[in-house]
Point group: C2
Chain length 209, copies 2
DNA sequence: ACCACACTAATTGTCGACAATCTAAAAAAT
DNA sequence: ATTTTTTAGATTGTCGACAATTAGTGTGGT
């Protein structure tokens, strides 16, 4: 509905006035409250009883917390995917990676496609775990928040090619049904991604000082 | 508010009629919808757009899915707790375990206290991880669902003493700040608990046939 | 006899208004 | 001048009613 706005154009930590935004979107307050509930379950807004709603603030501490959880859960998803993914799913995953290679070569600097592609890659593996609860947790709840981090931080360039290699290694592990390895590789991959955004944060803090 | 009812006295998979329950509790439909949203975020009810709300059905497949996730997340929590728990927190945890030992000896067969105690034990370790996101995920979202499983299935006896030993080993690992070991022990502990409920399920299915 | 279509009934989603609560500013007392 | 209290404003939570969509049933056609 208006995830786009939360992802980009509404400032972090800003108070949300229900009647204001209700008029802003031309809907009733009840409808907007429903929407806020959805956003709350995605961790994009935080509410306090009888106080109000604020857009979530993107702090480094929060990033670490989220990525610790994400690393653990996607590691699990990857291990399960190594056991449960169908051959044609694995085949499709490899094709997807090849597509990324091509678009990546064409648009060396631009990282947007890689970004979307990276999320798509992770998305498919999560789906491959065949664990509905896990899929819901990662794809519905955490997905938006992670996207928010990446969009607002901006994905940096040199990691693109390295991420590609890591994706390749993960696919190989899944293809060999080596769940242990796949889990470990995915955990490292996400930790690297976390470290990447962390440096971005530090850079931003230094710029401020 | 009325988690008690969902945990016990409302049948699984039963349709939820909003106006009916609204009258049942003497509140408006808007209030009840808010409550349903809360229950949905705890995975106790499931809704479909323009169709309605049903109480979640406790199946063996779902149990496995939830416990796979729980094992991974509580393993993470345990590893973090090994690094981040304060000495007095560890001390309190040991005291809690001693209390369990006493009540357990007194009420050999009765497992209710052990159950509540077990959850409390896990609860404290999760808090000890100091990861707010992880704490929310486990204590607010998953906690109720797991409680529902355990209450409706009924905890079996012989596992009580074994669980106590496992808890003890976990505390020792945390006290030694051995995160790796603590994580592994917790994962095994939860897997054992899962297997325990699984057998309960199989027994129930055999009874039916 | 079976399938398709339409109609009715119920349920969900949405709306505007009212009451309770909290925040903030202004005034008074120390 | 600072602190406390009171008061006003606004915002959230709650309520009952209306509109839209859906499920079930009954009828008609093939």
């Amino acid at each position: 509905m208006r995830r786009e706005i939360v992802e980009g154009s509404i400032v972090q930590g800003s108070k949300i006035s229900e009647p204001e935004l209700a008029k802003r979107y031309g809907v009733s307050r009840a409808t907007l409250r429903e929407a806020l509930n959805r956003l709350e379950s995605c961790y994009l807004v935080e509410r306090k009883a009888n106080v109000g709603c604020r857009v979530v603030a993107l702090t480094a501490e929060r990033l670490i917390e989220v990525y610790q959880v994400r690393s653990s859960l996607e590691g699990l998803a990857c291990r399960l995917a190594a056991d449960n993914m169908e051959p044609e799913e694995i085949k499709g995953l490899k094709q997807l990676l090849n597509q990324h290679l091509q678009t990546q070569r064409v648009k060396e600097g631009e990282s947007y496609y890689q970004e979307a592609g990276d999320l798509d890659f992770h998305y498919r593996i999560i789906q491959g775990s065949k664990n509905a609860h896990l899929i819901h947790l990662l794809c519905n709840e955490l997905y938006q928040l992670i996207r928010m981090y990446r969009v607002q931080m901006g994905m940096v360039g040199p990691r693109v090619s390295k991420a590609f290699d890591e994706h390749l290694a993960i696919i190989n592990a899944i293809e060999n049904h080596d769940g242990e390895l796949a889990e470990m590789l995915m955990k490292r991959h996400i930790s690297a991604s976390q470290a990447n955004i962390q440096t971005k944060f530090d850079l931003l803090a230094k710029q401020k000082a």
